[in-house]
Symmetry: C2
């Protein structure tokens, strides 16, 4: 990122008609976006939410509150504009692209982007979820999808996901990449009970024991205990960062995907914006590893990109503030008495 | 508020295609809006930000980082669309009404609503800021302004303020009404240093000692240590609540105005929504007294309605979710395995 643009942006913000620093996180966000966009006039519109969907063989082990077929059913719901992400993206003035990167049945739906790498993952309790080649194919698919969205004009990409069982895969990845205990990073997902959560922990332990993913090889981890949508979203981050486009994360799963991308190419980290603090306990862990502070905390645990869509107007506000607010000089407003702000008195 | 509509809304939310409770604060917000609007189809649009501006005689005592004339200068900035609230309201798709309820000079500006009760307050260090009659006139003005906005169609009113010196008056009011120590509720306002903050505390102590406002008579408090824009905003809350319109608060000053309204008429409390957590230490105190939990925390300390505008898209999202999301039944999506959600399997 461009530290000169960041410095210029900071100076510009300090010239605007408001007390110094009084717009808090909006100011640091605008500075970050200036660095990413290498401009004191960064843009985030049009913004696109990329929702990647896939199934997980590990759902056989009873790790989710919902049956596996809900992934497919939710794709229908997305295409009919009936899901939370449809509604929230509309309010946030963002478009939604839904990508089938590995749902376990073949689906044809108008508008659905078919980029299926394979029909769901294998059960990671019994062996690798994906081969290394499949993990790489999913990453490449994500890069392609990001490039496609950017070619169509996207200036910001928000991440979303749908995949029954994907908090299990995300917890496994994070435990390995973060070299932290599984108990630390496992939550209730869409709403399992205490007993199911204990089973989820044992399933992840067993999957890691059997597959022995290499914590220093993120692609190995993505393949052995990951998921197709997680690898795809990691690819989206790689593709967006390569084109200097900011990436707005959603919750736990998208943040784990971003961590994987950062482990593949550390430069990605500078392009990430955390939207919300999820209820999933692993989300705090992954955000700490990424050095990110979420903008909002509304006790969400839905996924789909819902938290990213909710935070998008805040990101847009940061951009519009620097584009459209008057400076003290333009507005002929007196500065602070101690001279910390320039005015005309 | 209508507890039956609240219950019906809760049931409706639980039928939507998402894990139970997974939209967190959005769900409680939608339930609250159903109670306020007495409908499971509450509306918040069009939304209007009412910004009340006035001057404070107490600025003579050096309690603010900015000179008093900035209030007037900022009204020009508002009318030229150059201030933070103009930009943020535009992003949030809200209109802005700016009301001069007591700026210390006469101003005529196209679009500015002239409702001047008097030319600024007296210095509360030397006697009452306002007479009881003036405080009542400011309250009545606020009720009128709210009624006017509602007649023009507003379904939600957000509060904003401009008045150099008004954190001093707000801290004084809160200290008296909340019967809490002044040190607890005084902050740096627009950015004073440690020494000025000490002076601000002494000024408030002296003002309370001289004027002896009665903590059980909110109008007495508003008059003796308050401000015209604070009384006006309290009136807006009274007017909105009387017409069952939700009020979205901004930061410290608007929350103190709302507390005053609640002390005048306790029913007002049910119509309040807290937008953001301000940096001002008194804001936590007043939110606790009001039983409110802010939606966002972005380290803002600007006022003008900026935090309310930033939170507005979240409020809108809560409403659109319940209007536009599909139910499990409509979308033919399987419920949770434990039967906690009804589906079609």
């Amino acid at each position: 990122v461009d530290t000169r643009a960041e410095k210029q942006m900071e100076q510009h913000i300090n010239s605007l008609t408001k007390p110094l620093g009084s717009l808090g996180s909006l100011e640091s966000l605008a500075i970050k976006l200036a660095g990413i966009g290498r401009s004191t006039q960064p843009e985030i519109d049009p913004a696109t939410v990329i929702v990647m969907a896939a199934d997980h063989g590990v759902t056989k082990e009873g790790v989710s509150a919902f049956p596996s077929e809900v992934t497919k059913q939710m794709l229908h719901n997305f295409m009919n504009e009936g899901a939370a992400i449809n509604v929230l993206a509309q309010v946030a003035n963002a478009s939604v692209e839904v990508v089938d990167i590995g749902v376990k049945e073949n689906i044809e739906l108008p508008g659905l982007i078919n980029k299926k790498v394979r029909l769901g993952t294998n059960n990671m309790m019994a062996g690798p979820a994906l081969t290394r080649e499949e993990a790489i194919a999913a990453l490449e698919t994500g890069i392609e999808v990001a490039e496609g969205a950017i070619q169509k004009g996207a200036k910001l990409i928000a991440l979303g996901e749908m995949g029954i069982g994907n908090t299990t895969a995300s917890s496994a990845i994070l435990s390995v990449l973060g070299q932290t205990s599984i108990e630390n990073v496992v939550g209730v997902g869409t709403g399992i009970n205490h007993e199911d959560k204990e089973r989820k922990i044992q399933v992840i332990k067993q999957a890691i024991k059997i597959n022995q993913p290499n914590p220093h090889d993120p692609i190995d981890v993505l393949g052995k205990v990951g998921g197709l949508e997680i690898a795809g979203l990691a690819g989206v981050v790689l593709g967006a960062a390569a084109t200097r486009i900011p990436v707005l994360l959603d919750g736990f799963i998208t943040s784990v995907a971003a961590l994987t991308a950062v482990r593949i190419n550390p430069v990605c980290e500078q392009y990430l914006i955390a939207s919300h603090q999820s209820v999933e306990p692993g989300h705090i862990v992954v955000n700490q590893l990424l050095g990110l502070q979420p903008l909002i905390d509304l006790n969400l645990r839905l996924g789909e990109g819902s938290g990213a869509a909710l935070a998008l107007p805040i990101v847009r506000s940061a951009v519009h503030i620097v584009h459209n607010m008057a400076t003290f000089e333009e507005a002929k407003i007196s500065g602070a008495k101690d001279g910390s702000l320039k005015g005309n008195t």
